[in-house]
Amino acid sequence: MGEVILTMKDIDKSFPGVHALDHVSFEVQKGEVHALMGENGAGKSTLMKVLTGIYTKDSGSIIFEGKEVEFHNAREAQDAGVVIVHQELNMLGHLTVAQNIFIGREFKKGIKIDDKKMNEEAKKLFDKLNIDIDPTETMSNLTVGKQQMCEIAKAISHDAKVIVFDEPSAALTEAEIQELFKIINDLRKQNLGIVYISHRMDEIKVITDRVTVMRDGTYVGTLITKDCTKDDIINMMVGRVIYEDPKSKSMVAPDAPVVLKVEHLNAGKMVQDVSFELRKGEILGFSGLMGAGRTETARAIFGADPKQSGKIYVNGKEVTINSPEDAVKCGIGYLSEDRKRYGIVVQKTVAENSTMAFLENFVKGLFIDKKAEKDIAQKYVDSLATKTPSVDQLVVNLSGGNQQKVVIAKWLVRDCDILIFDEPTRGIDVGAKNEIYKLMNKLAEEGKSIIMISSEMTEILRMSDRIVVMCEGKKTGEIGIEEAKQETIMNMATREIK
């Protein structure tokens, strides 16, 4: 560890009605990986946006390489050597890899863009990073993981002195994460300052040197990573103690009836001959790496995507599901991994979203019975402890965890017995996560059956009664929670990969 390369001092930033950053200070040294942690809304992203000039600070100072600086936009920050790898992928799908990497600073020959040189440079860059990507490939043809690698390559190519990684691992497979860590370690050796934002406790322990924790827009404290425990960090983040224990045994009665049976399901490349059973009151974990075909399986069962073959039985009876409409009639509900896109209608209220799946039950004569609608919505707001000023609030104004609860309420209103939770806690902070877990357990106790797709091993081990593992579109294993170990599951999840 060496000298300080970047210091942010007393940064203050307010938006109308919100004090987003309250005199936050933060520093990065050369050759250090500095984790920035905090629940969603703690102000991490805002702080980084202030750093890279996307937001202007109200007060405070940024000292970079000994000089006070103020960037007015992302471009200025880049040019100075402060680069951010964004959480959401910033790719331009219609352009090639090389064109993406050099966007905004193309090599030129006269007025012509020198694509040839860009391809060569990109190739060099990839060689240096030991990544195998063809620079002339169109971006949208790459897997999510490869796209992420391109993003990182792009950041590095800026001759960066400080790189901010904003949740880089969210879309990566286990293998790709290892790849990423190798790159980060290299960068550390080159004496760059690295800021690493993540929710994943395991990663923080592995890769970072120091951890700074923020809460509600304030600075809480900085710890040396190797001197602290996970619980220390979590306590600082939430200000309360949370335990994360794996489930030790299945909570399902051995004679519980099978409510959903899927046989030889085929849908495109990503779902090949998948069969499994789901019992009443069971939480069935679906584990696997990114792109293993779990979401595709769920969507095929739910009728969201077309399937080629396979049989589905609900409560022992064979059913035809060609559309979500059919699935819902069979009592299946689906909570998508991408709430904003597939879960909620942002411009509608909590009440309106709650009844979205079962509106016919709230129609009196020709019209919607708004009172009944609000009553039922209120009922679930209470029972799920959704934080909202009223059921007339637009869901766009709720936080991620509360939006998720509204989606759950939607399926509970419909009285679905089979619920598919696809990455139910993605992008939700630790406190809210716990609430969702409690809720899922409660639902299972009440006799609902749950399929939970998750990429987080701790989540799988903590919640599931039984675990199905998938890899490259095929089911590669099934295991009861009693025997489940991280290593066994990982083994199954990589079985097909040569």
């Binding site: 936009n73 992302a74 910033n90 331009l92 352009l95 966007i103 012509k112």
Partner: protein, 326 residues
């Protein structure tokens, strides 16, 4: 192996299919009607295609950004009226009138660009408004009267030779050469210069383009300025081919240009498109417009068929994509 792939991908290319359609249409009309086979018919088709081609080249840029420019049709008439009025009624030299037409186009393009990129109005709406505004302005420019640009043979009519030159008895459609040149130049601009690259970037993912440090507002505006500039050029082409320019007309021209661009493979959702594709697409529309009367169909049938062809072209694309997904 690689080469074979290239050929194969060409066959899948919308542009290529449309080119085949153009050729097929031409052959079909030629067989069906002996009168269609004449050189003069080709001349006419080209004459009536210039202004649509020019508009289509221009409008390809806003379309690729994921927007649209509905103001080019009424704009064309407006610019032509403004330029023509100065030439005919104010005694300006022809070149000055032409310059005014083009500058007027650039100005309205700039307005569109500002409305869309700076004020964040939906492009459809912003250009719908400028469509109404230019329609009104056009009539005001000429005080409501039709304007005849200098007719062939009179003083100041040299601009008509830009598009068609008479050597001896034969007329040569040199305008077509300009069109090809412009297509090549604008194809270069789209694929190999910053303006084009960023136009595609904006259509692909505007947010990402912004975070890459691109001056998105500027380049987004530029797409509309290009569209306006070409509408200005189209105004000259229109005035050069037709005797009089009538105020109040022009609505609908933009749809022919946009339709041509879309048939030629520009994606309605942005990010994808090529200038040469737009050119070929326009010819589908022009051929239908010119060819159908020759095979004895009354004018009203043309509209029905054009409508159906448009849907057909897009459906083919949609079905192809559906198949690709499977």
């Amino acid at each position: 192996m690689n080469k074979k792939n290239n050929v194969l991908s060409k066959f899948n290319n919308q542009k290529f299919i449309v080119l085949l359609v153009v050729i097929a249409l031409f052959i079909f009309f030629s067989i069906m009607s002996p009168n269609f086979r004449k050189y003069t018919t080709v001349l006419s088709i080209l004459d009536y295609s210039y202004y649509i081609i020019l508009m289509a080249i221009g409008v390809t840029f806003p379309l690729i950004t994921g927007g649209v420019d509905l103001s080019i049709g009424t704009g064309l008439i407006c610019y032509s009226l403004a330029g023509g009025y100065l030439i005919v009624h104010c005694g300006w030299p022809t070149w000055a009138g032409m310059l005014v037409s083009v500058l007027f186009g650039v100005l309205i393009g700039l307005l569109n660009g500002c409305l869309v990129s700076l004020m964040n109005l939906p492009p459809f709406l912003a250009t719908l408004c400028t469509c109404m505004i230019t329609r009104g302005l056009g009539s005001l420019c000429s005080k409501g009267f039709g304007i005849p640009w200098p007719t062939a043979g009179t003083e100041g009519s040299w601009f008509r030779n830009i598009f068609k030159i008479t050597v001896g008895e034969t007329k040569y459609p040199i305008g077509f050469i300009w069109m090809i040149l412009l297509v090549i130049v604008m194809g270069f601009v789209l694929n190999h210069t910053k303006i084009g690259r960023y136009t595609i970037a904006i259509g692909s993912n505007k947010e990402a383009a912004m975070l890459s440090g691109i001056n998105v507002k500027f380049y987004h505006t530029m797409a509309y300025v290009i569209s306006g500039f070409f509408a200005g050029l189209a105004a000259i082409a229109y005035s050069a081919v037709f005797a009089t320019v009538q105020p109040g007309s022009g609505a609908g021209f933009e749809l022919e240009a946009i339709g041509g661009a879309i048939i030629g493979g520009v994606s309605a959702s942005g990010g994808v498109g090529s200038i040469s594709g737009s050119l070929i697409g326009v010819f589908v529309i022009c051929l239908l417009k010119t060819g159908l009367p020759y095979i004895g169909l009354q004018a009203n049938w043309q509209q029905i068929i054009t409508g159906l062809v448009l849907i057909g072209a897009v459906l083919v694309d949609i079905l192809k994509k559906k198949k690709a997904v499977k």
